[in-house]
Amino acid sequence: MNVEELKKHANHVRQNAIRAVYSAQSGHPGGSLSSADILTYLYFEVMDINAENVGSIDRDRFVLSKGHITPGYYSVLAEKGFIPQEDITTFRKFGSKLQGHPNMNYIEAVDMSTGSLGQGVSTAVGMAMANKLDGNKHHIFTLLGDGECQEGEVWEAAMAASHYKLDNITFMVDCNHLQIDGEVEKVMNVYPLDKKFEGFGFEVVKANGHDFEAIKNAFDYALSVKRKPAVILWNTVKGKGVSFMEDQAGWHGKAPNEEQFKQAMKDLGGDE
């Protein structure tokens, strides 16, 4: 797929993410927009997931450790055809499979139920360990927030991934530098993340999470690492693509009103 096609998919993912949050009048747009390009590339170009193998574990798997960015995650799954597009507006509503945080028992393509920060990454490590045991050659990917790295469990998981030399897992951190209460560096500084992950025995890759050439190169390199785990630190902008949401901590978990929704769709070149 060429860069233009990828951009088109990612833009549609952003539109659906905003549509989901607007429709629910709740949810997390900021991190959904910052990770939209990374997740689009992951699902369209990297993972070997398709309609035939989606119900099996004999394929690559992804754990959304930052489980709150379901608007973006569900929109990527819808873009791939694993969730009906029309279901996007049922997000967070009673009776919907599109729960506020992902439930693996409701949606076949969701590989783990998450929501409590720090846990998804541990479950991904468990999957990678099981794959090693079984000689299953498929890869495990997990996406964390930079704020999430304040959870001690992230480092317990990193320690285990390194101890067991898991080269079949890729950690990814959406480094948008913002969390609910403000700037990550001011709330509780977790940086420098590169030195911390290096100290934990990881191969560290840093890349622009909004440039598809850079995203491709980062994945190519991370997947070539042997005998140790790799982490990609994605440099991203929270709220990317919507003018008034960009770099604003206030849009971590807030829904737009009608006027803001229209403006967001206009920014994203949508038809609403």
Binding site: I57, V63, N103, M104, N105, D111, M112, S113, T114, G115, S116, G118, Q119, G120, S122, T123, A124, V125, G126, M127, A128, M129, A130, N131, L133, D134, N136, G152, E153, E156, A157, M159, A160, H163, Y164
Partner: protein
């Protein structure tokens, strides 16, 4: 009477299980020698994973392994397994209903000298309140072995509560058969029914011998789902029920029995023996059971005064 700790029986059963079932994997948090999972490591080192002193990560790793069709047995001391890793058990194991067996040892006061920080008196309450979780507590080595094997075939999250102290073997290893969700009438009597779990079953049996009448003694080895029919029938046919557990009286076996009886019209009163909403302390197991009123002599004395 032969004595065996339920954790010792766990180690032996697990060593057999890893050889019988290739999907079984074992996780421990630097306590393999104490929880006895080292027995499984001896015979199958490639499926025994030491996760270090990091219980939260261990439980969520177990969830990821279960999502990969493994049957993980994850062990630590009960206080850390259920307390420190509660959120992981709740959100990564129980919410997705994954097939993890949390086998926690060193439960209750009889941990002894390590004292209150290591004596789990709340774990039944914590685990019982979680949807999808099933809760077990064997009374002796024979029952522990049977339950440890049985939970491998019970789909979904299971919590097995095990003890440190060597306890009397009250079941006959040749005839014992575990039935999921069924209480066992150890001794059929009248007037008072003692409903006990774990090592309190042996104390209840000893107490029964000290009384001037023959009470009924019931062993509840599956605390959730609990044997409602047996409890309701017992409440109809006795003058009093006394629940006995090595756990806080809040939320444990006594609470579970009270929940069953709450809406029953034809029932006798229920009295709860257990730790009265306080922490433990250091001491020998015998000194602690005496101090907290949970040995046979105290149980008999309490019942005699009813």
């Amino acid at each position: 009477m032969a004595k065996e700790a339920t954790r010792a029986a766990y180690g032996k059963a697990l060593a057999e299980l890893v050889q019988e079932n290739e999907n079984v994997v074992v996780l421990d948090a630097d306590l393999a020698g104490s929880t006895k999972t080292a027995e499984a490591k001896k015979v199958c080192p490639e499926r025994h994973f030491d996760m270090g002193i990091a219980e939260g990560n261990m439980m969520a790793v177990a969830a990821g392994m279960a999502a990969s069709h493994k049957i993980p047995y994850a062990s630590a001391f009960a206080v850390f397994a259920t307390g420190r890793a509660y959120d992981q058990i709740r959100n990564s194991i129980c919410y997705p209903n994954l097939n993890v067996k949390v086998c926690a040892t060193h439960a209750g006061l009889t941990v002894g000298e390590d004292g209150a920080s290591h004596q789990s008196l709340e774990d039944i309450a914590l685990m019982r309140a979680l949807p999808n979780m099933k809760v077990f507590q064997p009374c002796d080595g024979v029952e522990a072995r049977a339950i440890v094997k049985a939970v491998a075939d019970i789909d979904g999250p299971c919590y097995v509560r095990l003890g440190r102290l060597a306890v009397d073997t009250v079941n006959d290893p040749d005839t014992y058969k575990y039935e999921f969700g069924k209480g066992i009438v150890m001794k059929k009597g009248a007037k008072v029914a003692i409903i006990a779990t774990g090592m309190m079953v042996q104390e209840a049996l000893k107490a029964a011998e000290q009384l001037d009448f023959d009470p009924t003694v019931i062993n509840i080895n599956t605390i959730k789902p609990i044997d409602k029919d047996l409890i309701i029938e017992t409440a109809k046919t006795h003058d009093a029920i006394v629940t006995v557990e090595e756990h806080n009286v809040i939320g444990g076996l006594g609470g579970a029995v009270a929940e069953v009886l709450a809406d029953q019209k034809e029932r006798c009163p229920q009295y709860m023996m257990g730790v009265k909403d306080e922490f433990g302390q250091s001491g020998t197991p015998a000194a602690l059971l005496d101090a907290y009123g949970l040995d046979a002599a105290h149980i008999a004395e309490f019942i005699q005064k009813l």
